[in-house]
C-alpha cells in the first residue's frame, strides 16, 4: 500500500512538470510582449522595464526563475490590479469558489448515488426510464442555460430567491443547483451502470447462494464494488466543477476565483490568468492524486497490479 502511494506520488512529478513547462512556453511563444502598449515606449524605459521583469535574460534563466517562484507558491503581481498580488486574489476568491463547488459536488453525490441504485434495481421499469430520461436531460442542459432560466423563474417572475450576490444560504441555492445538476446526471448514470454490472457478477450469486439476506448482499457486497466508478469520477468531476463554477459565478455575480478568471481573461490580465490556471492545475493534479490513492485503498486489485 505504501509502495503504491509512493508510486502515485512520483507519478505526479511529470504531470506538474508538463503543466509548468507548457504554460511557460505558451506564454513566451505568444505574439507581442506584455510591455506593448497603445503608445510606443522610449527604448531606455523599455530596457529598464525589461530588466525589472527579467525579460532581458535568456529564456532558460527566466524558466528557472519561474519554477523557483512557483515552488515558493508566489504567482507574482496582478497586471491589472497594480497593488494586489495574484496570491491575494486567490486567497479572497478561492474559498468562495470552493464553497459553491463543494456543495454542488455533495448535492450530486447525495442524490445521484441513491437515484442510480434505484434505477439499476428497477431496470427497464418506469422508475428507471424516469431516472435515465431525467439524467440525459440534465447532461444536455448546460449550466449557463439552467442558471438564467432559474433566475427568470425564481427571482424575476417569483420573488423566492435572490438573483445574485453573496449573503445567506439562499444565495447558494440557485448556483449549486445550476452547477450540480449536470454532475448529478453523470453520477446517476455511472451508479446505475456499475450497479447493474456488479449485480450480474458471479460473486454476488455466491453471496446469495450462501444464504445472505438481500439487504446484506447489497450493503456489504454490491455497494462497495458499485461505488468504485463514482470514486474515480471524483477526479475529473472536481475539475469540471471548478471549470463550471467559472460560468456560474459569472451568472450569479458571485465574487469567486472563477469570476476573477473571466474578468482577467477579457481584460488580458496576463499574470492573473496564468496564476489562476497554474493554481487550478496544481489543485486538480493533487486532488486526482488523493482520489487515486483512495481508489487503490478501496480496491486492492488496483494496488497490487
Amino acid at each position: 500500500m505504501l509502495a503504491f502511494t509512493l508510486k502515485r506520488l512520483a507519478g505526479v512529478v511529470p504531470t506538474l512538470f508538463i503543466l509548468l513547462t507548457a504554460t511557460f512556453l505558451l506564454v513566451h511563444l505568444a505574439p507581442g510582449s506584455p510591455l506593448d502598449g497603445d503608445r510606443p515606449m522610449p527604448a531606455e524605459i523599455r530596457a529598464n522595464l525589461e530588466a525589472k521583469y527579467h525579460l532581458n535574460e535568456p529564456l532558460i534563466q527566466q524558466y528557472g526563475r519561474y519554477l523557483l517562484n512557483i515552488a515558493q507558491l508566489d504567482f507574482g503581481a496582478s497586471y491589472q490590479y497594480k497593488d494586489t498580488s495574484v496570491n491575494d486574489l486567490i486567497a479572497t476568491g478561492f474559498p468562495v469558489s470552493l464553497a459553491v463547488g463543494g456543495f454542488s459536488l455533495l448535492f450530486a453525490l447525495v442524490i445521484g448515488i441513491p437515484l442510480g441504485i434505484i434505477a439499476a434495481v428497477r431496470q427497464n421499469k418506469i422508475a428507471d426510464y424516469l431516472a435515465m430520461g431525467g439524467s440525459l436531460a440534465g447532461i444536455s442542459v448546460p449550466n449557463f442555460v439552467l442558471g438564467p432560466l432559474m433566475i427568470l423563474a425564481f427571482a424575476v417572475y417569483n420573488d423566492w430567491l435572490p438573483a445574485g450576490g453573496l449573503g445567506g444560504w439562499q444565495n447558494y441555492v440557485m448556483p449549486v443547483l445550476a452547477l450540480g445538476t449536470m454532475y448529478l446526471a453523470y453520477v446517476t448514470r455511472l451508479m446505475r451502470a456499475s450497479t447493474i454490472e456488479v449485480l450480474r457478477s458471479p460473486f454476488i450469486r455466491t453471496a446469495r447462494a450462501k444464504g445472505l439476506s438481500e439487504m446484506r448482499v447489497f450493503v456489504v457486497h454490491v455497494l462497495p464494488a458499485a461505488l468504485l466508478p463514482v470514486v474515480s469520477f471524483l477526479g475529473p468531476g472536481a475539475a469540471a466543477v471548478l471549470t463550471g463554477s467559472v460560468v456560474v459565478e459569472q451568472i450569479f455575480g458571485i465574487p469567486g476565483l472563477g469570476r476573477f478568471f473571466v474578468t482577467a481573461a477579457l481584460n488580458r490580465d496576463y499574470t492573473l490568468v496564468l496564476g489562476i490556471t497554474l493554481f487550478y492545475g496544481i489543485i486538480i493534479i493533487l486532488f486526482n492524486l488523493v482520489v487515486d490513492v483512495l481508489y487503490g485503498w478501496l480496491d486492492p486489485r488496483v494496488a497490487y497490479r
Binding site: T15, L26, A137, P142, L149, L152, V156, Q250, Y280
Partner: protein, 297 residues
C-alpha cells in the same frame, strides 16, 4: 487492390448481409427515442443550412423601428427581435450554423488524432503503448478549460484557434477507447492471416484494424459532438469564443441573459435550440451504444 474492386466487394458484402451492421441498425431503428432524436436533429440541421437563404432578414442588420418585438407570426419576426432590432430567427439559425460547424469540424479533428493515436498505441503495444498512454493520462489530468482560455488570451480570439484548441483537447477519450478496442482486435485470426500474407504494420492498421473500429468510433463521435458544441458555447457565453458580428448559440444566450427581464425570449429560444440539439445527440449516442453492445444480444 484498386479502390473500384474494393468498393465492389464492399457492396457485395453489404448485399449478402453484413450481419453485425445490419443487426445494429435494426436495433437502433427499433429505438423510438433515438429515431425521434435523429428526425429532430435532421430538421434542425436542415433549417440551419437552408434557413438563412429563405429568411427575409439577415443576422446582423439592425432595425431601430422594430426593437424588442415579442415573437409573433403577424409582424414577420417569428422569434422576435433583440435590443437593436435584429431578427432572432435569423440569428438563431446563423448561430446554429457556427455551433454545429464547430461541433462537427472539431470532432473530425479529434477523430483523426484519437483514432490514429489509439490504434497505433494498441497495435504496437509494449513500451510504446505504455509511454503513449502515460502521455494521455498526464494530459487528462490537466485543467483543459483553463488551458484553452489561457490560449485564447495569449493568442487572440479567432475561430480557427477555437477549432484547433478544442480539437486538440477532445481526442483523449477517443484515443483510450480505440486503444482498448484495438487490443481486442489484435488477437483476432484475420490479423494473423493478414500478417502471414505479408502485410506490414501500417497496412494492417489502416486496412484491417481501423475499419473494424468503426462501430465504437461512431458511438463516440456522436457523444463527442455535443461535448464540443457545449465547450464552444461555454467559451462564447463567457465572451471568449465567437466574436461579433458572428454569433453562436452560446453567444446568443450570453446576449439574451442581459436582457432577460425585459425580453425573456432572447435567452429562451437559443437555450431551447442548444439543449434540444445536445439532448438529441446524447440520445442517438446512447441508442447506438446499446445497439452495438454485444452483451445485450
Amino acid at each position: 487492390m484498386t479502390a473500384a474492386v474494393w468498393r465492389k466487394q464492399r457492396a457485395l458484402r453489404a448485399a449478402s448481409g453484413n450481419s453485425l451492421g445490419r443487426d445494429a441498425w435494426r436495433r437502433l431503428a427499433a429505438n423510438k427515442a433515438a429515431m425521434g432524436s435523429l428526425a429532430v436533429l435532421g430538421a434542425i440541421t436542415l433549417a440551419v443550412i437552408i434557413g438563412p437563404w429563405l429568411s427575409p432578414y439577415d443576422y446582423f442588420s439592425q432595425d431601430y423601428d422594430a426593437i424588442w418585438q415579442a415573437p409573433s407570426l403577424a409582424n414577420g419576426h417569428w422569434f422576435g427581435t433583440d435590443q437593436v432590432g435584429r431578427d432572432l430567427l435569423a440569428r438563431t439559425l446563423a448561430g446554429g450554423r457556427i455551433s454545429l460547424m464547430v461541433g462537427i469540424v472539431t470532432t473530425l479533428v479529434s477523430l483523426v488524432i484519437g483514432v490514429s493515436y489509439g490504434a497505433v498505441a494498441g497495435f504496437v503495444g509494449g513500451k510504446t503503448d505504455a509511454l503513449m498512454m502515460r502521455a494521455v493520462d498526464i494530459l487528462y489530468s490537466l485543467p483543459f478549460m483553463f488551458f484553452v482560455i489561457l490560449l485564447v488570451v495569449f493568442f487572440g480570439r479567432n475561430l480557427f484557434l477555437l477549432f484547433a484548441a478544442i480539437g486538440a483537447v477532445s481526442w483523449l477519450d477517443m484515443a483510450r477507447i480505440v486503444r482498448g478496442q484495438t487490443l481486442a482486435i489484435k488477437s483476432q485470426p484475420y490479423i494473423e492471416a493478414a500478417r502471414m500474407a505479408g502485410a506490414g504494420t501500417t497496412r494492417i492498421i489502416a486496412r484491417h484494424v481501423v475499419p473494424n473500429l468503426a462501430g465504437i468510433v461512431v458511438v463516440y463521435v456522436t457523444l463527442t459532438i455535443p461535448q464540443v458544441i457545449l465547450f464552444e458555447s461555454f467559451l462564447s457565453y463567457l465572451g471568449l469564443g465567437v466574436q461579433p458580428p458572428a454569433t453562436s448559440w452560446g453567444a446568443l444566450i450570453n446576449d439574451g441573459t442581459g436582457e432577460m427581464s425585459i425580453a425573456p425570449w432572447l435567452v429562451l429560444i437559443p437555450s431551447v435550440f442548444l439543449a434540444v440539439t445536445l439532448f438529441c445527440f446524447n440520445f442517438i449516442g446512447d441508442g447506438l451504444r446499446d445497439a452495438l453492445d454485444p452483451k445485450d444480444r
